[in-house]
């Protein structure tokens, strides 16, 4: 029914189980224990996992398959958010039409940018996309925000005001994004002993979209279209001399990944009805590149892992401050404690990007295939160990 191979179906099932049980899985430490700060099972962070997962899955369709490295994908995310908030302002707080509009607007926008940028490849393509994204940022930040024509509300960010039309908004509906009356902000809290698990509507709403997005990307990779996109990456010359017009293929890939970004942007606005220009900035575009590479370029699950990994570390590391560090090292003598805190201090809190940079260097150097390659290596190592155990061979290396 799903038209997937057995292996792909099991991967899909794993993703579904992990996302559905995330409130449990990400909350392993009791709320009052010292390790509770490593918990990630709260709505805010879980929403980010799945939303940026969608963003990275879409980015991987372009970068992973065709090899075209876009440095401006955050523009589509930002456009999606703006479109969604405009839907709130004009129509209603219902998230479904907002998300649909976000995807459509991001799709149209990416046709425009893709059509121009894809006339070049390699570094020139990357620079063109970067330039477009920075132009979009400038437009959103200042140009399109003036008293006579205020599309983006500039620095403040676009948000819903009491005097907005909202023609389908009723008094019985929540004053927050909702799905036919079910507020995105509502969270069911389940206490179980020392643990507290939180089930948030917006999280599950976004998670369902991520599962759909993942399934679609799987179908795409296994399709003739996906095969030809992979061929674009390895030899475009041969494709042209094989009777295939590469331009529409790359443009289609670009637009599809732009729509994924738009979906992610729309969902960001579904969790919090606010859209700011900073979402379009080049750092945001760079972040999705890091996510995809960290997770594993061109793999199905890699982008999701990379997105989760970066968002988790971002949250955890930026929460750690000197007080927490002093607590950790309190068992040491005073002088050494201060020294340890001093050494680690630059890497946590506001300096967490330093940690991210180091981690990125390590992964790219030692695991070019990202976390997925790491997983595979562990699997092979484990399988080898097992098989050598079974055969009763000594675990030593063979003589050379």
């Amino acid at each position: 029914m799903l038209r997937l191979t057995k292996k792909d179906i099991s991967l899909l099932v794993v993703v579904i189980v992990l996302t559905m049980l995330a409130p449990f899985l990400l909350n392993p430490f009791p709320s009052d224990s010292g390790l509770a700060q490593f918990n990630a099972g709260y709505p805010d962070l879980m929403q980010k996992f799945v939303i940026f997962g969608i963003f990275a899955i879409g980015f991987n369709i372009l970068f992973g398959l065709t090899g075209y490295l876009s440095f401006g994908h955050a523009a589509f995310l930002g456009v999606g958010s703006y479109a969604a908030v405009w839907m709130y302002k004009l129509v209603s707080y219902n998230v479904l039409p907002a998300v649909v509009l976000a995807v459509i607007v991001a799709g149209l926008f990416s046709v425009l940018i893709g059509y121009v940028s894809l006339r070049r490849s390699g570094i020139y393509f990357s620079i063109l996309t970067l330039a477009f994204a920075q132009m979009s940022f400038a437009l959103a930040y200042s140009v399109l925000s003036n008293p006579s024509f205020n599309l983006t509300n500039g620095e403040t960010g676009l948000q819903v005001y009491a005097n907005d039309p909202q023609i389908f908004h009723g008094d019985h509906l929540p004053n927050f994004p909702h799905l036919f009356g079910l507020s995105m902000g509502s969270t069911y809290k389940m206490a179980a002993g020392a643990w507290e698990f939180q089930f948030n509507v917006a999280y599950y709403f976004c998670a369902i979209f991520m599962i759909l997005a993942f399934y679609l990307s799987m179908r795409l990779v296994r399709s003739p279209f996906g095969l030809i996109l992979r061929a674009v990456k390895t030899n475009q010359t041969r494709l042209n001399y094989t009777g295939l017009n590469t331009r529409p293929y790359t443009l289609a890939a670009f637009v599809i990944s732009g729509m994924y970004a738009g979906l992610a942007g729309g969902l960001l606005a579904a969790t919090d009805p606010l859209a700011g220009a900073e979402r379009m900035q080049w750092t945001a575009s760079g972040e999705v590149v890091l996510m995809t590479i960290l997770g594993g370029v061109g793999t199905l699950i890699g982008p999701i892992l990379g997105a989760g990994f970066i968002k988790y570390l971002e949250n955890i590391f930026s929460k750690i401050n000197d007080n927490v560090l002093h607590q950790w090292f309190s068992f040491m003598p005073d002088g050494i404690e201060d020294l340890m805190v001093m050494i680690i201090h630059p890497f946590v809190g506001k300096g967490w990007h330093l940690t991210l940079g180091l981690m990125f260097m390590l992964v790219v150097t030692f695991l070019p295939g990202g976390l997925v390659e790491g997983g595979q290596r562990i699997k092979t190592w484990w399988a080898n160990r097992k098989s050598s155990d079974k055969a009763g061979k000594p675990a030593s290396t063979p003589a050379e």
Partner: protein, 253 residues
Amino acid sequence: MGILEVQGVNKAFGGLKALSDVNLNVEENTIHAIIGPNGAGKSTLLNCFIGKLIPDTGSVVFNGTSLLGIKPHEINQLGVSRVFQTPEIFSDLSVFENVMIPCFAKRDGAFKLNALSRVLGQRDVREKAEQMLVDVNMADKRDMIASSLSRGDKRRLEMAMCLAQDPKLLLLDEPTAGMARADTNNTIDLLHEIKSKRDITMAIIEHDMHVVFSLAQKISVLAQGTVIVEDMPENIKGHPKVQEAYLGTPAEG
């Protein structure tokens, strides 16, 4: 009436005149060899047939359609395929995937957005690709990654990819360059076999005279950018102009 008619083609790169007034007529269903010393303009001429280069003046007509000013993929869709001197294959993909892509190009045209159907479900394409690999004796290497093939296998793979499109005209640029004698003979046999099985015209650039005289039904000799002789193989060997082009004039020698 030839399948490929080249008339008065000129091509200059800056001050260097690579082709001057080339006339060539490739008859349908023949193997036509283009030979000539290094720098005679053979590869330049071939590039003019596939849209890689556009001649400055002159005409190139394939099967009644002018090839000038149309894109490489459009020329290919008309039925012209090329095997390159250095094999152009999809190195990161498996051998089988390499052959499936031209099958898709043949079936679906220059662009089709079939992003939701499965490669596994395309029985016609898969069967055709399997058959192509059998035809070039590579069925056992089906799942290898193309970059790990030997040079000879890469050439055979490229040949399979071109044949998968059932081209009317197959252009071969030195198909045996750098091959050992045994491999060269295998390639000759392979080309003969291909020729006997289907309606195909081949234009072949080659340095190895053994290959040329085993295959060609007609030979054009290119020297200093122009065709000096076009004749049957038996008349070529002893032709004074050909000897002059390859060995220089007797007086100079």
